[in-house]
């Protein structure tokens, strides 16, 4: 087996090892993306509101 093939095979435990890393990435990455998007939205909403209120005065 090639070296890269051996790396992905994980000594025959590929399914378990890679699934574990994939789940961790999906959960923590997903939470990061969600938190960041919501953060951007909160900034945009606040700026819109401040502009609206500024115009009304």
């Amino acid at each position: 087996m090639t070296e890269i093939g051996a790396f992905f095979a994980m000594g025959g435990y590929a399914g378990f090892v890679w699934s574990a890393y994939a789940i961790a990435l999906a959960i923590l990455g997903g939470l990061s993306v969600y938190s960041w998007r919501r953060y951007r939205d909160s900034i945009a909403a606040l700026e819109r509101l401040q502009q609206d209120l500024g115009r009304r005065r």
């Binding site: 000594g11 959960i27 909403a45």
Partner: protein, 258 residues
């Protein structure tokens, strides 16, 4: 230090600078940690390459416990001193802790199947961590259950404090009861009982997870403070409160459209 930081305006100023720095450090540390865990660290002489699951599983477990402690302490501060930032911090941290707990449970299951021959057993360690996950979910549900956020915050804070009793149960479950789970091998009296070639990537991943927690906590707290500020502006202006950010306004079949 905490008192000095516990001022929303000051927190916003400081975290604006800290978020980019911590983010890039977290990315760097996690990249090094992943490379070390997957490529450099040796396979275990008994467990083979499944031992690599440890580098995600164990730091996630540590985070699950320490984030819960953070939520509990912040809740106590919020209940006793009514600090403006404490409740925001506890609410922001709870979903991060729940995510780490889920990662811990899922990776543990994927490690248990090849090594113990089962995905799950109802033993003390696994069950107490599952209860920790439900405590997180209960906290999140309760914190958002009331229209008046401060009521939900207080109820959730009490739940967080009661749940603290679960933390020593998790930590010492492997000593108090017979369990499939191995006893502590890093945080034990007498020092770690694990080779440096495996301890190093483990600690790097733990540092990476801690940095990730710090970044997510700050970002989520900033989001909450932005949303509160927007709400206050709307109320001051006498406008109708807009739907909460991140959610679409609900138009049901019963809504009368003029």
């Amino acid at each position: 230090m905490i008192n000095w930081l516990a001022n929303p305006a000051r927190f916003m100023r400081l975290s604006a600078k800290a978020v980019p720095w911590c983010s890039w450090t977290a990315v760097l540390v996690l990249a090094v940690g992943l490379f070390w865990s997957l490529m450099v660290a040796p396979p275990d002489y008994q467990q083979g390459d499944t031992v690599r699951i440890m580098y995600v599983h164990v730091p996630a477990a540590w985070m699950a416990l320490s984030v819960y402690l953070f939520v509990a302490v912040a809740s106590a501060v919020a209940l006793v001193w009514r600090h403006p930032l404490a409740e925001v911090a506890a609410r922001a941290a709870a979903p991060i802790g729940a995510a780490f707990t889920f990662v811990c449970l899922a990776t543990g299951s994927l490690w248990g199947r090849p090594m113990w021959g089962t995905w799950w057993v109802w033993d003390a360690r696994l069950t107490s961590v599952l209860i920790l996950f439900f405590l997180y979910l209960g906290y999140i549900a309760l914190a958002n259950a009331f229209d008046d956020p401060s009521r939900g915050g207080r109820a959730a804070a009490v739940l967080a404090l009661v749940g603290v009793v679960n933390l020593p149960i998790i930590k010492f479950s492997v000593d108090w009861w017979n369990t499939l789970h191995q006893p502590a091998s890093v945080m034990r009296i007498g020092g770690p009982r694990i080779d440096i070639s495996m301890l190093a990537p483990l600690l790097i991943m733990a540092l990476g997870f801690t940095l990730l927690f710090a970044v997510l906590l700050m970002v989520r707290m900033r989001t909450a403070l932005n949303e509160r500020r927007a709400m206050a502006l709307r109320l001051n202006a006498g406008a109708i409160p807009a739907p909460r950010p991140g959610r679409e306004p609900v138009v049901s079949a019963n809504t009368v459209v003029p």
